[in-house]
Amino acid sequence: MTVMSLEEAAEMVENGSLISLSGNLLFRIPAAFVRELARQGKRDLRVMKTAGGYDVDLLCGLGCAKEVIAGFVSFEVFGLARNFRKAVEEGKVKYSENTCYSVIAALRAAAYGIPFIPIANISKSYFVKERGFKFVDNPYGEEKVLTVPAIKPDYAILHVQKADEEGNALIYGPWFEDVLMARAAENIILTTEMIVPTEELRREIDAVWIPKLKVKAVVEVKKGAYPGACPPYYDMDFDMMERYASLDEEGLKNHIWEVRP
């Protein structure tokens, strides 16, 4: 069975896994799933995303993450991601800083089954050396070309608006990097605002870009992106995000049990 509970789905993610998370900042984030990972006390997760927010912050603040591979982690209008920041400053989490573009390049290479991919020359940026991005000779020209190695997530964790029981899924509005993540990852876990019959999904085929391939779990979680937004169903919870942004570690521990799922 692919349909399961949030608890069962989160149990599939082993400590130390490399997970990539859907959405962007506070939009269509797999918030409920991330809280369940924290409730289960996961450790040593490596978390990948172009631009993280609540999801990355929470995993850092509760000691679930050991590494963040991203280009940006913040709450936009709600200020800085305090727990992420503190964990990195204290050396508890390694921030493998990228630019969003190089995160995408690494996912593309993984999706295409190639070991690396050339990118534009961004070599003045300090993290290029820190990440070990290497130049290669262009066999068709004179210049050297910067490259990024593939990064293949163990799990792409995607929160979507609709999925069927098998794991075919639809995304309304911007995909962010979600379809690419789904192609690149070894496995996919879907949380969805609602499970619908396959026939119903098929009527909106133009938006169904996640086939059931590699989908290991489908979990129906209403308001699964809360306190983030999941248009067209709900916007961010502004009050909750303001409160969240000021939580310390103790507050964070309470938060994941108070906000269910």
């Binding site: 900042l25 172009t50 280009g71 913040s74 209008v77 630019t99 995408i104 003045k124 940026s125 962010f176």
Partner: protein, 237 residues
């Protein structure tokens, strides 16, 4: 002058920069650029292409609490992914990009990564798309909502994004890059500031300059229509 009025000066100057632009991109938490692009499209340059990470050519009737809110996607002319926007810039086809800098140096390089104050690491959020966009867009425009000597420094400790900025906006002034000097020079000083204040609050040599032009009534009208609640002032707090 209150923060809303001050932000209007900055938005107006940004909008006027876009009079001859082909395209403009703004990312997250970019309230001033959002309003500037909207004004430019309505008043000065209807053919300006507006890139957003939620779609191509948004037509918003108001500014949401996030400049990348998916609600904006409903009012776009076409789908376009962030990845594709980066490709456009990598191909050299992106004209103006608005980039926020946590730390900005005299060359216009940005540090959005972290600094060390003594032994202590102070972590910033990261540069998002900046490393690529600063290096490959034709006219990167840098902006900051604060101006102090820890932000405007002679040389950043870490280069997150390097490129040649077209302009740098601070809440006190507007810089441009003087390529012969290889550093930023002050082009306009906002009317609520002064050469003395800027000299005091900037970590590199600065010059006196004429005042930033006033926003027009039409510009202000559009700003207030799109941002009736004054979200834009959050940037300057």
């Amino acid at each position: 002058m209150n923060l809303l009025e001050r932000s209007n000066y900055m938005i107006s100057a940004m909008a006027r920069l876009l009079k001859d632009a082909d395209s403009a991109f703004m990312g997250v938490a970019s309230f001033l650029p959002f309003l500037a692009i909207a004004i430019a499209k309505r008043l000065y340059n209807p053919d300006l292409i507006w890139y957003s990470i939620v779609g191509f050519n948004p037509n918003p009737y108001r500014m949401p609490m996030s400049t990348v809110h998916p609600l904006i996607a409903k009012y776009c002319d076409a789908k376009l992914q962030l990845a594709e926007l980066f490709d456009i810039s990598a191909r050299g086809e992106l004209d103006v990009v608005f980039l926020a800098g946590a730390q900005i140096d005299s060359r216009g390089y940005l540090n959005n990564s972290h600094v060390y104050i003594g032994e202590k690491r102070v972590q910033f959020p990261g540069g998002a798309g900046g490393a690529l966009l600063h290096a490959t867009a034709r006219r990167p425009v840098v902006w900051q909502g604060k101006h102090d000597p820890r932000i405007f420094v002679k040389e950043v400790q870490r280069i997150t994004a390097a490129g040649k900025p077209y302009r740098v906006f601070s809440p006190l002034c507007i810089f441009r890059l003087d390529e012969s000097l290889g550093r930023l020079v002050v082009e306009h000083i906002h009317p609520w500031s002064s050469y003395e204040e800027i000299r005091e609050k900037t970590g590199f040599e600065v010059n006196d300059a004429p005042p930033t032009p006033e926003p027009s009534d039409e510009e202000i009208k559009i700003i207030e229509e799109l941002d009736p609640k004054g979200i834009r002032k959050l940037v300057l707090q």
